[in-house]
């Protein structure tokens, strides 16, 4: 028997995360309803004017995803901490960097699926037009979710072991996500609405750069975070 390589290890960790999500889908459903109710609350907070709501729909969508990500990222490492499974994975053995890649992709796919569910809801609540540029809209959604997951995975691995972990994760994560949020909201906006100045490609590039930077930094730093040196 030969232990697995980097990519195969990441794939097995990812598959395991999917299995876990599927077996605990009741919790998944709860997360979905949580973000649905945030979207609903935004429309109450902003009043019934549909023009205002439509104009700000991308912002609400991303805030809904962002708030839900705190729950799902926290959960992602709570299951690893329960029986010290994370240590178990390291000893199994899996390269810590594989765990990082697998966990990031697992968290990103979860958020992406959530985003896909929320898109039709934004049509119902805010009357947006999804058909204008659906391909780039999905790309923006995917890149944005990856952008939350990459730093989020590192922070969640740390904060799951700290006291007051429910407060720690957003406190650490939100400042870092400011550029990602700006870029994702702008990209979504220009994919949904008229893009006079052709700004969409530049925001997508910024999102991609953000993802690449945090994937590489996380890839380097994550082993030091989870290995008990």
């Amino acid at each position: 028997m030969r232990p697995v390589g980097l990519v195969r290890g990441a794939w097995l960790v990812l598959k395991k995360d999917w299995q876990l999500e599927w077996r605990t889908r009741a919790r998944l459903t709860a997360t979905v309803f949580f973000s649905l109710s945030t979207l609903l609350l935004f429309s109450f907070a902003m009043g019934p004017g549909i023009d205002v709501l439509r104009a700000h729909a991308p912002g609400y969508l991303w805030l809904g995803i962002l708030f839900a990500s705190i729950l799902s990222l926290g959960e992602s490492f709570r299951v690893e901490a329960e029986n010290q499974s994370l240590t178990g994975l390291l000893l199994a053995p899996v390269d810590a960097r594989s765990i990082f890649l697998g966990k990031v992709l697992g968290n990103a796919t979860l958020l992406f699926a959530l985003g896909l569910l929320l898109l039709p809801v934004t049509v119902a609540l805010y009357d947006v037009d999804l058909t204008r540029n659906p391909g780039l809209l999905l790309l923006a959604l995917g890149l944005g979710c990856l952008g939350i997951a990459a730093p989020g995975t590192v922070y969640s691995a740390m904060s799951s072991n700290a006291r007051a972990r429910d407060v720690m994760l957003p406190l650490l994560l939100f400042p870092v996500l400011v550029p990602m949020l700006l870029a994702a909201v702008s990209a979504t906006k220009f994919a949904l609405m008229k893009d006079v100045q052709e700004q969409l490609p530049s925001w997508l590039k910024l999102l991609t750069a953000f993802d690449l930077i945090y994937l590489s930094v996380g890839f380097l730093v994550f082993p030091r975070v989870v290995e008990d040196d």
């Binding site: 028997m1 232990p3 697995v4 395991k16 299995q19 299951v79 029986n83 010290q84 199994a92 053995p93």
Partner: protein
């Protein structure tokens, strides 16, 4: 058997939080020999086993397994070492079979499904293979962990309280397992409060008191 010892501790200390859990411990264990590790609760047994298993590393001093220092060579050493501990490393929401099949695939096993089925039968969990671990009793979880240890077929097996939580038939089975590992040439470290059972299974003994070596026999 080669001359390099299976375990070599050189003046090892480990700080756990602000305290020293293990203090300036040195010993060697030849390959194929077995060690009984005793000591009261909090004497540093678990920390010591976790260090040998490369789950954590010494604050001061060095540990070498089969002649390789653990911190630098963890990737090569981990496939050869298995730890059975209180923390069972299981995912509560996955089934016993899914947990084991993950471990098997990570080890790069051929035909993992068949192997997992066979091992679960062996530890007496064949009928519960597809139930989530969350529904299992402590003893059943231990059996799943034992199956995972067998799957790895380690050269060095570290057993932290292996008899705890097991029923009498389980204890007999566990003893059989230790003898089987020894017959395959594995080095075994056994930490237990059941000193008589432990003595019958091992050749050497290390007693820890507040993280220090108290006596060897």
């Amino acid at each position: 058997m080669s001359d390099t010892p299976a375990i070599e501790l050189k003046d090892v200390s480990k700080r756990f939080g602000p305290r020293w859990a293990v203090s300036r411990l040195s010993f060697t264990l030849a390959e194929g020999r077995s060690l009984l590790l005793t000591g009261h609760n909090g004497s540093g047994k678990t920390t010591l086993l976790r260090m040998i298993a490369t789950a954590t590393f010494p604050t001061l001093g060095e540990i070498a397994l089969f002649g390789h220092e653990t911190r630098r060579n963890r990737a090569e050493l981990r496939p050869k070492v298995a730890l059975l501990s209180h923390a069972n490393f299981l995912y509560e929401d996955l089934t016993a079979a899914q947990n084991l099949s993950l471990a098997a695939q990570l080890l790069g096993a051929q035909a993992p499904a068949a192997k997992v089925k066979e091992l679960l039968e062996r530890v007496g969990l064949g009928a519960r293979a597809h139930n989530p671990v969350r529904q299992f009793s402590a003893g059943m979880r231990k059996r799943v962990s034992i199956a995972r240890l067998l799957l790895k077929a380690p050269r060095l097996a570290l057993l932290d309280e292996p008899f705890g939580e097991l029923d009498p038939s389980g204890i007999t089975q566990m003893e059989g397992l230790v003898r089987e590992l020894q017959a395959q040439g594995a080095t075994v470290v056994l930490a237990t409060h059941l000193i008589e059972q432990g003595k019958a299974l091992t050749q050497e003994r290390l007693h820890l008191e507040q993280g220090r070596k108290e006596r060897t026999a």
